[in-house]
Structure formats: structure tokens, C-alpha cells
């Protein structure tokens, strides 16, 4: 370890991931808005030949927002906050810096490969695990490099106690490592068959119900360990730091952490209710989903109580607005999910638009709000300039909040309408509606969703513009702000 006389935190890797977060956020959300519009106006499927169809773009949308936008955001905030809570600079560890930079280089290659291969229709067809085996191997290397950087920093830390955010980042690392490896066990058919077929093609090592179970053990825990765990880690750092208020109850944060770890892994089978998996396993998925409310709300309430006595900041500081609303959307989403996992509710909700409605109040309201506010908080410290425009942040907040509300309310109505129409029978037991009847009825709600997408992307462009101007031409800061992020 060097002397820390002239030492500073080194944000090189955090900056690189900040750029990709902005890039992939824009691309992923733009595609999402296009496919939302395609559902309302099907002729939009034919803009770009086979590359513009819903079936090609939908997996691209989910993969770009999960592995492009969110994972970049997780890495950016990790490489920023881990140094600070461990009180050690990346510049002090050649290993951490090397692993971080190599990880970013490989990440760019993998992300490009993901976009190209999915556009070309190369896919395993397993949801959120569509990337084929060569990319899977590359992702394992990237993930291991993250672990190397993480534990290299932890190994030389000055702060011996690991702050709660670090626990969450470590859990993200370990959870995804385990789940990703198990779910992507696959046989490359070209090699197994002695040179027949496409070299990129593979089949799962599991079959039938087992494959479905492992897939949703992964699928649901991608939500847990990519969309929840690291984002909770972010809010535990950024909200206290931005507000100048320590976490309301550190004990509750520890308790919620272990509760979440204990419960989340067993909730995945709620995706397979009324399927061929054993009945006890379906019930277990439902029960654990309901129990999951406790640790989720434990963290969310802890965050809201952190603002106790300081609620005036909610009106003064738009970043606090983002974070408090993110926490509130986390509460909404983690109440809605368990409700959908109850078997009788699931009988109506399954396969309907209520499901993407639920996912989006979580990802747009919780994940993206937290990542954007985290990056806004980081920007003045990384680039030593104040945030370019407070008015723009305020406007972005209201536009995107309106967008999220429009999205989930339209999908709630669409989903329940759909579910009720599908199961409606006449006095003789015949189905009352054909599928196209539901499509006709749902058209206005699909149009509202597309509008919500346009509003959200507009807000994201404002965020990107504000960030780029902050990096390039905003007023320079003489010293680093302690708590509240300065903005013009």
C-alpha cells in the first residue's frame, strides 16, 4: 500500500461504466418504446425487415436494459462507492485496477456480441438467458474479474467493517455467479454432434420440467440479484450520503439483508404455478414470495425513516426526490409481486399484461431511478463539476414519474381485463371471447403504454444531456461536496 498523502480515489473504471450506463439505457429504453408501440400498432413491425420485428427486438430490449444498462450501473456505482466505504483507492491496487479495466474491455465485447447475436436471431430462447454459449463463457470471465477487483479492494481496505452496501454487492456477485453457471449449463451441439449445424447453437443440459425449474430459479433470481440486491446496496450508500443522514437503523439493514438472502432464492417457482412442477414446490414459491414482503419493506422503510426530520430535503433536492420515490416504488413492486404469486390471483394474472406492468413499476420506478440518481450524485465528485441543470433534473423527475404511473396503471387495467376475458364462460360453459376480442379491447391501453415509453425515453435523454453537459461544460468545483450534490 502506498502512502495516502497525495492519494485520491480513482474513478477511471467508474467513469467508463457511467458512459455505458447512459448509452445502453438510451438504446434499451428506445427499443422498449418501439416494441410497446408495435403492440399497439402492428404495422411498425415491418420497419427494418426481420431485424425490426417484435420477436427479435423484445429479447434485445430485456437484455440491453438488464445486462447493458442495469449491470453497467451496478458496476459504475460499485467502482465508485466501494472505494469510499472501504476507504481505499483503486490506484493503490494494481490488481484491482487491472481487473477492472480488463473487465470493462471484455464487457464491451460481450455487450456488442449480445446485441449483434440477438439481432441475428441467435438465441437459446431461455428468458433473460438468451445469450449463446460463447457469450456465456465470456460473461463468466467478466464476472470473475469483477470478483477479483472486488476482493482485491476488500483485501487492502482501511475500513475494517464492511458497510452494508458492500454486503449487497458481494451478494450480487455470489448470487449471480451461482445462478448463472447452473442455468447456462448447455451442450454446444456442433461439437457434441461432430460438426453438424451452427457452431453457436446449444441445448440445455436439463430437460422438461427440470429445465423450467432451473430456468425460473435463475429468471426470478436475476430479478433478485441484479434488479434488487445491488440496487438496495446503492440506496444504502447514496441516500445517506446525499442527505447527510446515517441509515435510520443499521441493525434493521443487517436483518433485512439476511432475510432477503434467505427468502428470495426460493420464490422462483411462483413463475411455474399450475404447471408440471411438484405441487409442494409451487406452494413453497407462493409462500416465500409473500414472506419476501418483510425483508423488502424492511429495507424500504429503513430508507424512508432515514429521512426522518429531514423531509424538507424532498422539496429542495431533486436527487432525494428520485431516491425516495425509488424506495416507494420498491415497496409497491414488492407488495404487488407477492400478490401476483398467490395461486388464486395468479390464475388470473399469469400470461397477462399485469406481469410486465409489475416488472416495469419495479425497473422504471425503482432500478432506473436509483441508478440515475446514483450517477447524478457521483458526477460532481468524479468530474469535479456541478450538475449542469437543476431545472432539467426536476423536469426529468416529473416526466418520468408520469411515465411510470401511465405504464403500470394501463397494464394493471389491461392485464386484469385480459385475465377476466380469457376465463369468461357463458351459461353452457363455452368461452365467451376469442383472443382477438381481447386484443381489440386492449388497444387503448397499449397505446397509453407506448406513450409512457416515449415520456420515459424523453426523460432519459434529458438525463443523458444533463450528464454529458456536467462532464464537459458545467462550472468547475473548487472542492468536493460533502453531502448534497451541487447543481446549477
Amino acid at each position: 500500500m502506498q502512502s495516502n498523502a497525495a492519494l485520491e480515489y480513482d474513478y477511471t473504471v467508474a467513469k467508463l461504466y457511467t458512459y455505458t450506463t447512459i448509452l445502453f439505457g438510451f438504446v434499451g429504453m428506445l427499443i422498449g418504446t418501439l416494441i410497446a408501440a408495435q403492440l399497439a400498432f402492428p404495422e411498425l413491425n415491418y420497419l427494418l425487415g426481420e431485424y425490426g420485428t417484435f420477436s427479435r427486438l423484445r429479447p434485445l430490449h430485456t437484455n440491453v436494459v438488464i445486462y447493458g444498462f442495469t449491470v453497467s450501473g451496478v458496476f459504475a456505482t460499485f467502482y465508485y462507492s466501494a472505494q469510499r466505504v472501504l476507504k481505499v483507492s483503486m490506484a493503490e491496487s494494481k490488481l484491482a485496477m487491472f481487473a477492472g479495466k480488463l473487465q470493462f474491455g471484455l464487457y464491451l465485447i460481450a455487450a456488442t456480441g449480445m446485441v449483434v447475436s440477438l439481432l441475428m436471431g441467435i438465441t437459446t430462447t431461455k428468458e433473460y438467458a438468451q445469450m449463446e454459449w460463447p457469450l456465456d463463457i465470456l460473461i463468466v470471465v467478466i464476472w470473475v474479474l469483477w470478483g477479483v477487483a472486488m476482493f482485491a479492494l476488500i483485501g487492502i481496505r482501511r475500513e475494517k467493517a464492511l458497510y452494508i452496501s458492500m454486503w449487497y454487492f458481494i451478494a450480487c456477485f455470489l448470487g449471480v455467479a451461482m445462478l448463472y453457471l447452473f442455468n447456462n449449463m448447455e451442450v454446444p451441439t456442433y461439437f457434441a454432434s461432430g460438426g453438424v449445424g451452427a457452431i453457436t447453437h446449444s441445448v440445455s443440459m436439463y430437460s422438461g420440467t427440470n429445465d423450467a425449474l432451473v430456468q425460473w430459479w435463475w429468471g426470478h433470481n436475476a430479478v433478485a440479484f441484479v434488479f434488487t440486491v445491488p440496487i438496495v446496496g446503492m440506496i444504502y450508500y447514496f441516500l445517506p450520503k446525499e442527505s447527510g443522514q446515517a441509515i435510520y437503523s443499521y441493525k434493521l439493514s443487517l436483518l433485512s439483508f439476511w432475510g432477503l438472502m434467505f427468502v428470495y432464492l426460493w420464490a422462483g417457482s411462483h413463475h411455474l404455478l399450475y404447471s408440471t412442477v411438484p405441487d409442494w414446490m409451487q406452494t413453497m414459491g407462493s409462500v416465500f414470495s409473500v414472506v419476501l414482503i418483510l425483508p423488502s419493506w424492511g429495507s424500504a422503510i429503513n430508507m424512508l425513516l432515514t429521512m426522518k426530520g429531514e423531509w424538507n430535503q424532498l422539496t429542495d433536492n431533486p436527487l432525494i426526490k428520485f431516491m425516495v420515490l425509488a424506495s416507494t416504488f420498491y415497496m409497491l413492486s414488492t407488495l404487488e409481486g407477492p400478490i401476483q404469486a398467490i395461486k388464486s390471483v395468479n390464475a388470473i394474472a399469469h400470461f397477462t399484461d399485469w406481469i410486465p406492468g409489475h416488472v416495469h413499476d419495479g425497473v422504471l420506478g425503482w432500478v432506473a431511478f436509483m441508478i440515475m440518481s446514483g450517477l447524478f450524485h457521483m458526477a460532481p465528485r468524479m468530474f469535479k463539476r456541478e450538475i449542469y441543470s437543476k431545472k432539467l433534473v426536476e423536469a426529468q423527475f416529473w416526466i418520468q414519474t408520469t411515465a411510470v404511473v401511465l405504464y403500470f396503471t394501463s397494464m394493471w387495467i389491461a392485464g386484469i381485463t385480459q385475465g377476466m376475458m380469457w376465463r369468461a364462460v357463458d351459461e353452457y360453459g363455452n368461452l365467451m371471447y376469442s383472443f382477438i376480442d381481447t386484443v381489440t379491447v386492449l388497444h387503448p391501453y397499449y397505446a397509453i403504454r407506448a406513450l409512457a415509453g416515449v415520456l420515459y425515453v424523453t426523460g432519459f435523454v434529458m438525463f443523458a444531456y444533463n450528464m454529458i453537459k456536467t462532464m464537459s461544460s458545467s462550472r468547475e468545483l473548487a472542492e468536493e461536496p460533502q453531502f448534497r450534490s451541487p447543481m446549477a
Binding site: 476507504k87 483507492s89 475500513e159 450508500y237 441509515i247 437503523s249 443499521y250 432475510g259 434467505f262 411438484p278
Partner: protein
């Protein structure tokens, strides 16, 4: 008893065991702080005072730190 049933029982008893462990952990957290053996809440300051040259909080154990303070 077939393998599925065994899996069900194994899952149930593992759940019960982990619930006991989790509740024990809650009791441990609050009891150790009440007795003055630990001070978890001061760990919250790690996020607030996070400069490279800030004094580390280091431990949730209040006693050795207090003694050090007294010896200075």
C-alpha cells in the same frame, strides 16, 4: 416415500431450521446492543464520513475504541 416427498420434507425442515437461525440472529443483534457489547448503529457513519483520510470506524465493538479514546 418417494424422492419427491423426501425433497418436500427436506425443504420444510431446512426452512424451519433457517427461520430459527434468523430469529436467533435478530435476538442476538438487539440483545448484544442492549448489553452494551456492540454498537451497530455507528457503522452507519461509514457512508457519511468516507474520505480517503477519514478515521475508519472499523468495528461494531464499542469497548476497545472507547478505551483507546480514554488512553489518548
Amino acid at each position: 416415500m418417494d424422492i419427491r416427498e423426501l425433497q418436500g420434507y427436506a425443504s420444510f425442515f431446512m426452512t424451519v431450521f433457517l427461520v430459527v437461525v434468523l430469529y436467533w440472529y435478530i435476538v442476538y443483534l438487539y440483545r448484544s446492543e442492549k448489553k452494551g457489547e456492540k454498537d451497530y448503529e455507528k457503522l452507519g457513519n461509514i457512508a457519511l464520513d468516507d474520505e480517503l483520510d477519514s478515521t475508519p470506524v472499523n468495528t461494531s465493538d464499542p469497548l476497545p475504541n472507547d478505551k483507546k479514546e480514554q488512553n489518548k
